[in-house]
């Protein structure tokens, strides 16, 4: 599905390209090396979670310190490319989505994700989610089922 991820000034990455040529790929490395930042880049690019969850108070915290703009591009196996750019401005920031280099609104991205079969974000389990679910109250757990229904 995800063939390649390209990062530019996203969190701790300056410029990086990661290819996924096999169905089961592991990512490893020392503490603080940038592993969870790769997971954050997927969620950012596809608009699956808002910034708060990506350990950033505002979207511009995702931009590498000292830079003005960050960009993540995901290429899917079927050749489709989704790109998201966030740029600092005086008052805040701009966020742009692109589908094969054509500028689109987020609803277009949502449509594409639905066609691909990505309907909710239960397919991404972030660091600490297992503990959160294990320590949840029974009522909070029931709410998970309710959300899906």
């Amino acid at each position: 599905m995800i063939q390649r991820i390209r990062l530019k000034n996203f969190k701790s990455f300056k410029k990086a390209e990661i290819s996924f040529d096999y169905p089961f790929v592991a990512i490893t490395g020392p503490n603080g090396s940038g592993k969870s930042n790769i997971v954050d880049s997927i969620l950012f690019c596809l608009g699956l979670k808002h910034s708060k969850v990506l350990r950033a108070d505002k979207l511009t915290d995702l931009i590498r310190i000292g830079c003005n703009e960050a960009e993540v591009e995901i290429t899917f196996k079927n050749g489709l490319r989704v790109r998201r750019r966030v740029k600092k401005t005086e008052k805040g920031y701009y966020s742009y989505y692109y589908l094969n280099d054509r500028s689109v609104g987020y609803s277009e991205i949502e449509r594409v994700l639905e066609e691909l079969g990505v309907v909710n974000d239960y397919n991404v389990v972030m660091q600490g989610d297992v503990t959160r679910i294990a320590e949840m109250s029974p009522v909070q757990r029931r709410r998970i089922i309710e959300d899906i229904a």
Binding site: M1, K14, F24, V25, A26, I38, L116, Q127, P138, V139
Partner: protein, 148 residues
């Protein structure tokens, strides 16, 4: 609304039973503590191999995280996706349980893509390829890929 809830609940409960059998060779079950689904709580019963049934509250740290992981797998079976991303879901597990989770992911990777962040050897050894990330001068760097 009640109907939709129970349809989802029963399907996920069935998935949970299957996952616990595969993952821990044990028995698992989800149950509600009240008649009205919209005001009750969801409890997890889990009987690892060779032990008595126990509620989530009395389990050890590792057993709790195995049960939570089984619930996540059960939910994912209900609405399958083309790719899955896991970030250190195996950190509380002992070596044997990490191996079991890795085996399950390997099996599921026939139908979907798995990207798994992990520090544990049994998981890295089961993956088709391992991508290394390290800290360079002033940024993160992606290093070589090791194939199985």
């Amino acid at each position: 609304k009640r109907e939709a809830f129970f349809k989802v609940f029963n399907a996920i409960n069935e998935n949970f039973r299957e996952v616990v059998r595969e993952l821990a060779d044990g028995e698992g079950e989800l149950y509600l503590d009240g008649e009205d689904p919209f005001s009750s709580g969801l409890h997890i019963r889990f009987r690892p191999f060779g032990k008595k049934v126990q509620k989530m509250e009395a389990m050890s740290g590792g057993e709790k995280s195995l049960a939570a992981l089984a619930l996540i797998f059960a939910i994912q079976r209900f609405k399958p996706a083309p790719f899955y991303v896991f970030d250190e879901v195996d950190m509380f597990l002992d070596g044997v349980n990490v191996g079991r989770v890795a085996k399950m992911i390997k099996k599921l990777s026939k139908d979907a893509q798995f990207i798994v962040v992990s520090l544990r050897k049994p998981m890295l050894e089961m993956a088709d390829a391992v991508i290394g990330v390290t800290r360079g001068e002033d940024s993160s760097i992606v290093t070589a890929i090791r194939l199985r």
